[in-house]
Subunit: 355 residues, 4 copies
Amino acid sequence: MPETMKSFVIKTVGATEVVEKPIPDPGPEEAIVRTTAALICTSDVHTVKGALPVPDGRTLGHESVGVIHKLGSAVTGFEEGQRVVVCAVTPCYRCSACQRGFTSQCGGALGGYKYTVQMDGNMAEYFVVPAAAANLTPIPEAISDEQAAYCCDMLTTGFMGVEHCYLQFGETVAIFAQGPVGLSATIGAQLMGAGRIIAVESRPERQALAKRFGATDIVDFSKGNPVEQIMDLTGGEGVDAAIEAFGFPQTFEDCLRVTKAGGRVSNIGYHGENPAPLQLPLDAFGLGMNDKAVHTGLCPGGSERMKRLLRLLESGRIDPTPMTTHTFGFDRISEAFEMMTTKADGIVKPLITFP
Amino acid sequence: MPETMKSFVIKTVGATEVVEKPIPDPGPEEAIVRTTAALICTSDVHTVKGALPVPDGRTLGHESVGVIHKLGSAVTGFEEGQRVVVCAVTPCYRCSACQRGFTSQCGGALGGYKYTVQMDGNMAEYFVVPAAAANLTPIPEAISDEQAAYCCDMLTTGFMGVEHCYLQFGETVAIFAQGPVGLSATIGAQLMGAGRIIAVESRPERQALAKRFGATDIVDFSKGNPVEQIMDLTGGEGVDAAIEAFGFPQTFEDCLRVTKAGGRVSNIGYHGENPAPLQLPLDAFGLGMNDKAVHTGLCPGGSERMKRLLRLLESGRIDPTPMTTHTFGFDRISEAFEMMTTKADGIVKPLITFP
Amino acid sequence: MPETMKSFVIKTVGATEVVEKPIPDPGPEEAIVRTTAALICTSDVHTVKGALPVPDGRTLGHESVGVIHKLGSAVTGFEEGQRVVVCAVTPCYRCSACQRGFTSQCGGALGGYKYTVQMDGNMAEYFVVPAAAANLTPIPEAISDEQAAYCCDMLTTGFMGVEHCYLQFGETVAIFAQGPVGLSATIGAQLMGAGRIIAVESRPERQALAKRFGATDIVDFSKGNPVEQIMDLTGGEGVDAAIEAFGFPQTFEDCLRVTKAGGRVSNIGYHGENPAPLQLPLDAFGLGMNDKAVHTGLCPGGSERMKRLLRLLESGRIDPTPMTTHTFGFDRISEAFEMMTTKADGIVKPLITFP
Amino acid sequence: MPETMKSFVIKTVGATEVVEKPIPDPGPEEAIVRTTAALICTSDVHTVKGALPVPDGRTLGHESVGVIHKLGSAVTGFEEGQRVVVCAVTPCYRCSACQRGFTSQCGGALGGYKYTVQMDGNMAEYFVVPAAAANLTPIPEAISDEQAAYCCDMLTTGFMGVEHCYLQFGETVAIFAQGPVGLSATIGAQLMGAGRIIAVESRPERQALAKRFGATDIVDFSKGNPVEQIMDLTGGEGVDAAIEAFGFPQTFEDCLRVTKAGGRVSNIGYHGENPAPLQLPLDAFGLGMNDKAVHTGLCPGGSERMKRLLRLLESGRIDPTPMTTHTFGFDRISEAFEMMTTKADGIVKPLITFP
């Protein structure tokens, strides 16, 4: 009889619960990790609301770090007991999409995002790591579990948003919304040489975080049209690139409107909650001829990328932990998830600790 | 009293005429070219219909080649009498957009397209060349005026459409519509290593040209949904890239639908005739997360690019002249323009010869 | 007792022989292929001469195609009996170098090249395919074994040489030496839009193949300094890119000399036979400031790349088989290898057929 | 009779002097700037020693800022009296090399570097700006002349060195030598997202500046082989990219040796003082097959790039002025130049002020 573990699952659309499940065994290329810390992601809130079709009883979560509990027979180069971080996206690295460089589209569109969608997530005491050789990343001693957990989704997604801006040093970027992913994009824009970072956000505590992370200008959309405000700030020129970190059709359109000819729009917002198609108005789109580009993507994974993020944390060049506004033990996961749903108490990112 | 020349102008929205204008004098950095051959572009048909706001009496045309008639005082390295081609887009090469690499956006969005929009076009016996040092390109002896005229807009635009596909050799591309620009994209896709070129077109004569220029598959949209046909042809996988060469919202959307995750949509269609915004349906757009990209642009100019096109014509690697379905003397320009408007007699591209 | 197979091995430095070895069994992620056709590579000639340190008795060969004989327990998506091509380089796709995109450097410098160096090669009746999920590529019915065998090394290496030229369409490229890899680069340069292809070669039969594959100019280095000849051909301007496909210090230097400022040198020559360091003379290198770049690489593998090559063969856009000057049954492998060593009878590439 | 100005010139190889020259008049596309501040560059020391062939009496200097004194007849968009910075490299933006994107190779190899080489430099009370429309950049009020002067050569060159490393965020870079250009590369590597910056330098005051500018590790080559030290620091793995900022054959070779497979070597060192060719040893170069690349370049100019540098200074993201170890009035230019030649008193960069 296998030992069991506690898992935080979707009971049915709109409801969650903690259940006991057997501790999984690894396949030959897999590993089992014992969770030590995790973050709750707003995507899971969307999932519970029904945005993604997942079976009842599926474990939630995709931002967990821990300790290697068991290695599959074909996995070499790691040791049980090692502290590791695992990205929310865990590609196979061998299929057609992976070989083409689109590892987040492993096996098909968005297919690299396996936790919760294709298999149990990792808001549980133990979790499975597919293709462990490529998806396990040892955590340097100097890095805390909390810091490492920000690599799983927030930092890699936010930084991808900046990479898709194809910035030249000193260019100007606008980042729409400063939730955890937008704030991570702000950290990334500062890291990757932006000259001016215009953060669009109305909540004071998030504005303060944005400034702390490198925003040079704050645009409060509750105080006027953000497009006009950004055009004013840039002397009518517009920005070189804009990042959509909100997931709303008007915001996407605003991103297009604030970019100059030759500008780039980078989408990291999750548009699953709004069924309407995104729009490209012809004036902002230059009738399809103003050298603008739109890029999209999903949370890039892999141990090499995780290693680069960890190196930046280790050298102190970035520190996302000011985003952790709340901390809960895993026994209070339901309460934490409820807060993340209501966004009560100015919550940005709740850390979950495991015994 | 200056000598005069015949010019083909927009009389008012909906009407054209041939008028006499003074032969222009060059500014210090300009040149005057005596026209020897020209092509009529569908954009001019749009302009006469009122798509672009231009003053009455403005000369039309932007696909002309000729002989240097007079050089501005600061222009060196050329000689009067030299045969030259001049791109439809004539950037300054020194402004902010030009320095950033977006020469077609010279001085502002779409600002590199100066003929007809900002100054007289070149469907006239003589025409002005701005920033002549960068915009005059000598034509090698072996190249006919007709061949060179295809460099002005058709080839450079169609090839840009392919460049914005960022193709790996052997990849699959779908090209929607096989008008002159779409056919030029087909020539370019063949030239730049596509493994499979799916041309979407219903007119038999254009299908035949597409095949001649390298299309490996023809999809006739009059015989069924082109998206379904392309998905069938690719075993359900979709294409690596799609080129919109039609200028219609549904076509743009179809381009998005036929690309696989990680695919690129490259727009070269002119969307000025349909006021509705272009749409990105969330399923085809992967909720903004399927690593797709959209690129736009406008007819890249400059003598270096023209030289590279001429080299390809000279080595016989490309030959667009099968597109020339009709030839008229400049004295019959009104008749030719009328045919281009009605698309009578299977016209693809009419060549205008000058005495 | 396992069945045995015939293998062509290095007996000791300077000598080869055919021996019996057990037919291998696949590990969980491996496959066993029964060979149906193979090409002999000059690299193996170098290896037998002692250029690479390999143990006595190691099977030679890395350009083989065949039929899947047995699949490892973890390999899905393939069937026994399927015709497949396997690249000379068989990366794991999961290590650090692979994740960084340098799959030929799998596990360390040049580490993706496993056949003969790290394990038995595939000039044998059966051979092992590591990481089979990523390294097996089904061959379309219309493609012959001979055609497919050119994908293993010749085409992928030659095309990489062109990719590392970062060509704009219509640019000029010089390719030094027209052995099988140089000829493949010529095919690739034609495929990927070069405007002018200058092939440097002295042997008439290779000159003829170069022309057939798209070379626009032939420079015979036996009739004068090739640098001077190329500068003359380009009006003193030089080429945009040069490919070193010979593997000799002077040739590498010549590549640098014939490129214009901003030019690229792409190395695909194997420099293992000449111990002297390659040199960058300061005048040709612009004192380190003339915007030149040098790129290197090794035979990129993977089923996605093989699929793209096969698609080009299938559409008839490329056909390397005119390089096959000789054909031998596997029972005459020693004779074929000897001819490849002496380059007798104008041999370019010998095909080996299996019963 | 024209007014005269003081100019600091090369008298003959090995000697300098201050002479009176007429204040120049601008051509139609030029501007005249009255100098307010300048930096002395080690390149000028090399030039006086005879490294570049320049005529006796040629004015030295290429790192000057000032105030627009007079505009050419064709220059619009600027006003006399405006504070401006002018890059050391002043391309035409219209020739073949400029159109291909290699503006520093304007008109031919290294041809964008016009000051001193093709015309009088700008260590003088007034100086000419060619192609003023593209080469004049207004200085924001908040930026001092001293700060702006670092844009002319130091920052643009050092940052190009980093751009040619094609860094992914979090990667590791080694920078060989921490003179003013190497220190600028350190500033750039920190700005553009390097995870670890290993600065190779022996002088304590330069080591201190390197740390201040973002170096995470210092390697003192006077205390042991720098290659071994760097391999030790990286656990035997090597760095992703190395910048040669010294201009010495052994250093160039060391850069190649410390990079891992797939690594990039970026040269910004001036190799004009050492006639020997640079070398690529076959082991470090992977026999020409280890996916390494070498990039070179020269001080990129243009107002757009200058604007981006100024934006970074304005937002306080970078500040190179700690490099200014000494300040002299222009009347003491000879003394300052002598110190720069002998590198006395720990001099890094001397600022020259004008009355």
